[in-house]
């Protein structure tokens, strides 16, 4: 009998605000411990939270992108538990009335099918601080820089049926939040992480199995591995007559396994109640319209447009639309070059290769789309061969000027003059009698030798197509 996997994800999206959700302290990553924690973040007596209005705008934007309901009034609640890195002894979160509810996110699966994943809710909350267990012998350090960092927790329905689907969903959400400019998406720094609720059931069953929650997965690979491990563990357990217990588990990447953290029995009673220090968040239709007007074109709309308007294939369109900055670059380049396919090829080829070599992201690319567009135009008008264009690109990357300036300075104009080429070819044929004989006797492979000789004599400037054609004509034979 086969098993069906059922997964729901809770994704923690760290909102890209300059200051914290309830205080004016900075949110920058990597500062000296406790240098970005003010009296509010420390939970000193008498201090009070004041909501950062930016987080509401960001939540509205995600709600719009997910076609979700945006609550006209939502409420902050206190989640009470003791932990040393939780300064107030409670986390301010949203419980019964979240700001965003009932949305949906379309994802594309490996086989090209599209699947719509339902989003249950997204709620605003503050992050806790960090316990540092290894820095001080016999003691634990507490760093409250992260305390009060704004999070949007996005909870999906249990609609995902495999690790692959879960990864596709998480990737799509990752792409979306960066597109919307609400999260930097940096998973190593924890800006985007998730908990996975995993259960299995007999294929065809309508009843959900008992789930385990795997906490704090901060990479797509870990998500995939943790789910696969967990699914296997649960199936083994059930097939050997055991039972899955509802519990929280941690994924250990070094051992590639999940381990029990706490069972349902030791689960906290969080004693949620509305936070009396904060008023309900009121969102007006005007505010929603203002955010709607600021919304960028979403990635799936761009993918679609690249296929229909630019004639790209689905894979290329998907790849280019993934990242807002890349897509923006691509569209500017396609316009400047007057050839979307050539633009896509250049971007996916030379540009990304050069960026990778330099360890750079596209916003810092030294070659502007307009400049690269001119270079592509020079290939189209026959001034440059493909390989010459690569040299020119390299020079442009190094800051040697525009395509035309580099062509001029290096004398890189392609030789298209048939008479001059014919003379070169005649010279090569005259200098290589034995090769000509062998070629004419049927050794076809020698054709490349002649091409190479001609290109060498032309210092790479000969138009390769013309060289081919002329050589064939003059050598005759096969």
């Amino acid at each position: 009998m086969s098993w069906e996997t059922v997964i729901g994800l809770e994704i923690h999206v760290q909102l890209a605000t300059a200051s914290k959700i309830f205080s004016g302290a900075a949110t920058a990553y990597g500062a000296e411990p406790n240098t970005q924690a003010c009296a509010v973040d420390l939970g000193l007596p008498g201090v009070l939270p004041v909501l950062n209005a930016r987080v509401v705008e960001m939540a509205i934007r995600l709600g719009l992108a997910l076609h979700a309901e945006i609550a006209p009034s939502s409420v902050f609640a206190r989640k009470n538990y003791f932990y040393p890195d939780l300064p107030k002894g409670y986390q301010i979160s949203q419980y019964e009335l979240p700001i965003v509810a009932r949305g949906r996110l379309p994802i594309r699966l490996a086989d090209g099918r599209e699947k719509v994943v339902r989003v249950t809710r997204a709620h605003l909350e503050e992050d806790a601080g960090k316990s540092v267990h290894d820095a001080y012998p016999g003691a634990t350090g507490i760093d409250l820089n992260r305390a009060g960092t704004p999070l949007l927790e996005v909870v999906s329905e249990p609609d995902l049926r495999s690790a692959e689907e879960a990864v596709a969903y998480m990737r799509t959400m990752h792409m979306l939040v960066r597109y919307l400019g609400i999260c930097d998406g940096n998973m190593q720094e924890g800006s985007f992480r998730c908990d996975a609720n995993v259960s299995v059931r007999r294929a065809g069953s309508e009843v959900l199995g008992t789930r385990a929650e795997v906490k704090n997965l901060n990479s797509f690979r870990f998500l995939e591995k943790a789910i696969n491990f967990e699914v296997e563990r649960q199936i083994d357990l059930l097939e050997s007559g055991g039972k899955v217990v509802q519990e929280t588990r941690l994924y250990d990447a070094d051992r590639d396994e999940t381990r029990s953290m706490r069972s349902k029995e030791d689960a906290h009673d969080y004693r949620y109640f509305p936070d009396p220090d904060l008023l309900p968040i009121v969102v007006t239709p005007t505010q929603i319209e203002r955010e709607r007007a600021l919304m960028p074109e979403l990635p799936w709309a761009r993918q679609q447009r690249y296929v229909t308007d630019y004639g790209l294939n689905v894979q290329d369109a998907d790849a280019l639309a993934q990242d807002r900055a890349v897509a923006d670059y691509f569209e500017a380049l396609a316009a400047a070059a007057g050839d979307a396919r050539a633009a896509a090829n250049w971007l996916n080829g030379e540009v990304f290769a050069a960026l990778n070599r330099a360890g750079m992201e596209i916003p810092h690319c030294p070659v502007e789309p307009s400049a690269l567009g001119l270079l592509i135009a020079r290939v189209r008008d026959g001034t440059l061969s493909g390989s010459m264009a690569k040299q020119v690109f390299e020079a442009m990357w190094q800051g040697e000027g525009s395509a035309d300036e580099v062509i001029e300075a290096r004398g890189l104009r392609q030789v298209n003059d048939i008479g001059a080429l014919a003379a070169l070819i005649d010279g090569v044929i005259a200098d290589s009698p034995s090769q000509v004989e062998q070629y004419r006797a049927g050794k076809d492979k020698l054709f490349g030798y002649f091409v190479g000789q001609v290109m060498k004599k032309s210092q790479g400037k000969a138009n390769p197509q013309q060289v081919n054609d002329l050589l064939k004509e003059k050598l005759g034979g096969s």
């Binding site: 000193l44 007596p45 009470n80 300064p87 002894g89 004693r271 109640f273």
Partner: protein
């Protein structure tokens, strides 16, 4: 030679009859003489007060400064003061020095007032007798064997004993009005949201409200002008244009409609107290006011609703006192649980622990609806009672407390009886309404207080009624024997 009310002291300072330094020394000397018997101050800030008085005198000498410049005050030890310990009368915060001033302190300092010290109170403002303080009980200057009321018992005793002309207080369920009544002074709990809670250590956030305690209603009005106002650091602070709280003081009471709730004159009210209230009503009638009986059908639920809501909120508000970052930490904790349990067991007193337990229970899974949920429903019903009543009357009048000051130790073993001393005061907190207590007689040598409850943001009306009453009576000027 020194005046005793804020109004008169301010006039004397302006006229140069004495300096802020003179009056400050006068109060410091009185504190040194009388406070050992009263214990109304936890911390006396003589050096800081002298420095502030010197600054005020410099301003006054140049003819500058506002209406309160140079006037001394006492500050309840629940308002954070930068560089000066703020203990909340708890061992937990015996070592706590805030790096910031409460908005109220900032405003009073900005108005040029001179802080004499930090006054005693019930621990974390939980109590009605000032007996739960880590620094020992406060004694009532009318009778040293009796309590001053609580939780702002130190502020009330200090003002009554003339150890400060005015003091700050906070009122969560009657903590300004009940001690004001028991000590024979005048106290105002403003509308919820009028006075900023920033830097005011939280007991129950949805009920807590700071306010002034003084000898006269006119003094309260002056203090309100300095204390009230929108504060961007408190999300529950109301945005309203500044107003002059003295503006209606002189208005005649002709045509004023006073509501007398039948529930506030029922069983449990001491007959002598009832007589005092009736007499006050007579004075107000003689001033032109009309009285009408009003019905507050849910008044009887105020105490249970209050103790559920206040305890629930405090159980969460006091979670931050965990021994990790500040405050009391037990010696040599073995592990995290030991750190938490011993720090809190040692740092908190019995009443605070009782309320944390009650509140934790009330919010627990399976009990939330029956307790916290139900209490919130009652809160709405109590609010609606008042809304209906205020459709027909301008103010609601009744006793502030069922009895006069009781003996120290009399109710400490019986928390429920203690809680009943708040029977008339908690409803205004649950509804968020402004309410004032003013002295209206002496019963066996002990003060009796009358409470006036007003509609939202109608503090000027309460101050008007009390001021007019105080023009006709002298109870507010009666001096206790131990002063």
């Amino acid at each position: 030679m020194f005046a005793e009310t804020v109004t008169a002291i301010a006039a004397d300072l302006k006229a140069g009859r004495y300096s802020s330094a003179d009056i400050t020394e006068h109060y410091l000397a009185r504190i040194a003489e009388f406070d050992p018997g009263l214990n109304s101050y936890i911390t006396v800030c003589a050096d800081e007060a002298r420095a502030a008085a010197a600054r005020a005198d410099a301003l006054l000498a140049r003819g500058e400064g506002g209406p309160l410049t140079g006037v001394p005050y006492a500050n309840k030890d629940i308002f954070c003061t930068r560089g000066i310990r703020t203990s909340c009368a708890s061992r937990m915060l015996d070592n706590f020095i805030a790096p910031y001033d409460a908005t109220v302190v900032e405003k009073l300092t900005g108005a040029g007032m001179v802080m004499l010290g930090k006054t005693n109170m019930d621990e974390f403002a939980m109590g009605s007798s000032n007996e739960t303080s880590w620094y020992g009980p406060v004694r009532n200057p009318w009778d040293l064997s009796r309590v001053p009321g609580g939780s702002s018992g130190g502020s009330a005793a200090a003002v009554a004993a003339r150890l400060a002309p005015v003091a700050t207080g906070t009122d969560t369920g009657g903590s300004i009005r009940q001690p004001a009544a028991l000590c024979g002074i005048t106290g105002l709990k403003p509308t919820y949201g009028r006075v900023s809670r920033w830097g005011m250590i939280a007991f129950a956030s949805s009920l807590d409200q700071g306010g002034p305690m003084a000898l006269t209603a006119a003094d309260l009005a002056l203090l309100m002008n300095a204390m009230a106002g929108h504060c961007a650091r408190d999300s529950t602070s109301v945005e309203r244009p500044a107003e002059d709280f003295t503006r209606l003081l002189a208005q005649p009471l002709t045509g004023l409609r006073i509501g007398l709730p039948t529930q506030y004159f029922a069983a449990g009210l001491d007959p002598a107290m009832r007589e005092a209230v009736d007499a006050a009503v007579g004075v107000l009638r003689a001033l032109g006011a009309d009285t009408v009986s009003v019905d507050l059908p849910h008044a009887g639920y105020a105490i249970p609703a209050y103790y559920v809501v206040a305890s629930a909120e405090c159980s969460s508000n006091l979670s931050r006192y965990d021994g990790v970052r500040f405050g009391h930490r037990c010696d040599d904790p073995r592990d995290l649980t030991d750190l938490y349990t011993r720090s809190r067991a040692e740092g908190f007193g019995a009443e605070v622990k009782r309320r944390i337990l009650v509140g934790t229970y009330a919010l627990s899974a399976g009990y939330y609806d029956a307790y916290y949920g139900k209490a919130q429903q009652l809160r709405r019903l109590i609010q609606q009672d008042f809304t209906r009543a205020f459709a027909g009357v301008d103010v609601i009048l009744g006793p502030t407390t069922p009895t006069t000051a009781f003996e120290l130790g009399q109710k400490t073993d019986d928390p429920l009886t203690m809680y009943l001393s708040d029977v008339y005061t908690t409803a205004a907190n649950l509804a968020g309404l402004p309410a004032l207590s003013m002295p209206a007689g002496l019963i066996g040598g002990l003060p009796a207080g009358v409470q006036l409850i007003g509609n939202y943001f109608d503090e000027t009306r309460l101050l008007n009624v009390a001021h007019q009453y105080q023009q006709e009576t002298a109870w507010h000027l009666a001096r206790p024997p131990h002063a």
